[in-house]
């Protein structure tokens, strides 16, 4: 009788261990974006599905890490501001990801703004403008025969995606900082100088020198000014 009780107790203990282990497996099986989805749905963001799809695409394209996805979503949701601004900032990031363009510099801009306790509406303006600017710079490089991907048969210069993205991101960031510093988009030489200086700093360490020379040799000052103007319109 006593032996029977011992066996039952051991079986009960084993069952408990199995259940706890199963629960642990369930938790660890949760994908990184599940946490992001929880945040978005809890905040009732209307475009949750689109944002999640874009984040998933970014992760698969290596333009976004799950950690950054969670970080920026969490900061935006926690920030003081109206729902429309929160959604707009998230959508600006999502649209950038959908175009396979770099998003980490935009995430940094968002996180900086929240850390500085800047109004979410101001962050929304800045991020939307810079995202627009980046698409414009991408188009400008395309028009100059600088592409990402396989070598083109039309005489264009194809760069690996990562190198192309670095160029696009840093030119866009330089233009964004120039504008934020009060520079005029119509002062073409100053616009070009801002970009040239940024690329000179990064050339040879972050961006390959040959890529810097390629961009600066093909892009005209007026074209950079027009790209900035286009984002502001």
């Amino acid at each position: 009788m006593k032996l029977g009780r011992t066996v039952i107790a051991m079986l009960a203990l084993s069952l408990t261990v199995v259940l706890v282990a199963a629960a642990g497996t369930q938790v660890s099986a949760q994908t990184p974006l599940d946490s992001v989805e929880d945040l978005l749905r809890a905040a009732s963001i209307p475009s949750t599905d689109r944002i999640l799809d874009a984040f998933q695409f970014g992760i698969s394209a290596n333009t976004l890490t799950p950690q950054d996805a969670f970080l920026v979503t969490d900061r935006i949701i926690q920030a003081t501001g109206v729902l429309a601004d929160k959604e707009a900032v998230l959508l600006a990031l999502a649209m950038t990801l959908e175009q396979a363009l770099p998003v980490d510099w935009l995430i940094d801009k968002v996180v900086e703004g929240i850390s500085r306790r800047v109004a979410l509406s101001a962050i929304r303006f800045e991020v939307q403008l810079r995202a627009q600017l980046q698409a414009g710079v991408r188009d400008l490089l395309f028009s100059k025969g600088i592409f990402a991907g396989n070598p083109s048969s039309t005489g264009g210069t194809a760069l690996p995606q990562q190198r192309f993205n670095l160029l696009v991101m840093h030119i866009s960031d330089a233009l964004g900082d120039y504008r934020e510093g009060g520079g005029s988009p119509l002062d073409y030489l100053s616009v070009y100088s801002a970009v040239e200086q940024r690329l000179a700093y990064l050339g040879g360490s972050v961006i390959l020198l040959q890529d810097v020379e390629l961009a600066l040799s093909r892009v005209e000052p007026a074209e950079l000014g027009q790209a900035l103007l286009g984002a502001l319109e």
């Binding site: 850390s115 800047v118 962050i123 990562q162 900082d177 934020e180 700093y201 990064l202 972050v206 040959q210």
Partner: protein, 193 residues
């Protein structure tokens, strides 16, 4: 008495003889030394080497063991670090080889804030979250060292809650959200680019 007389006579005789040949006895000691030196064997090359190392055989064996151990250490260390010294690549080649580059150095951030009770560093390298600075020697200069990958980093100091983004040690300063951010460019070597 007989012995005393004999001793006296012998002493007088020796003194008389010494007085007669005094001139021949002068310099006798140095002449003997010179002759002996001429008869001693001259040291060879092996003797010179032995004089440089330990005087005894056991001592020389000990010295050989130490030399062998030192050589072994040099060989092992050389084997470990020789690849690091091989062909110097330019930054672009190193970037391409490293697939984006990895930094191995530290970057120092410091700010004078003599009366501050808390100074932190926020920037793109820490998701704009506070990294504390320290003033260990209480000279009013707050300091922190960070290891950063190659790239462009914006940052600001926050001194007792007040943002301060115009670091004189920065490579440049940019306007950001109506304030200022300092910028550091970090190259492949981990220092400022």
């Amino acid at each position: 008495m007989y012995n005393d007389d004999l001793e006296h006579q012998l002493k007088e005789t020796f003194e008389h003889e010494a007085a007669l040949h005094r001139d021949r006895l002068e310099g006798l000691e140095s002449r003997i030394s010179e002759e002996l030196e001429g008869r001693l064997p001259k040291p060879g090359f092996g003797d010179l080497i032995r004089d440089l190392v330990a005087p005894s055989k056991a001592g020389r064996m000990g010295q050989l063991v130490v030399l062998a151990a030192t050589a072994a250490v040099f060989l092992i260390v050389g084997g470990l670090f020789l690849p690091e010294l091989s062909p110097q690549l330019n930054p672009a080649e190193r970037l391409a080889e490293a697939g984006g580059g990895v930094a191995f150095g530290t970057t120092v951030f410091l700010v004078p804030a003599p009366n501050a009770s808390e100074v932190v560093l926020v920037g793109s390298f820490n998701n704009w979250e506070a990294t504390p600075l320290a003033d260990e020697d209480l000279d009013g200069i707050w300091r922190v060292e960070l290891t950063l990958d190659p790239g462009r980093y914006e940052y600001a100091f926050v001194v007792d809650g007040q943002w301060w983004g115009q670091d004189p040690a920065a490579d440049e300063t940019v306007r950001s959200y109506g304030g200022y951010s300092s910028v550091r460019y970090i190259g492949l070597a981990g220092g400022d680019a």
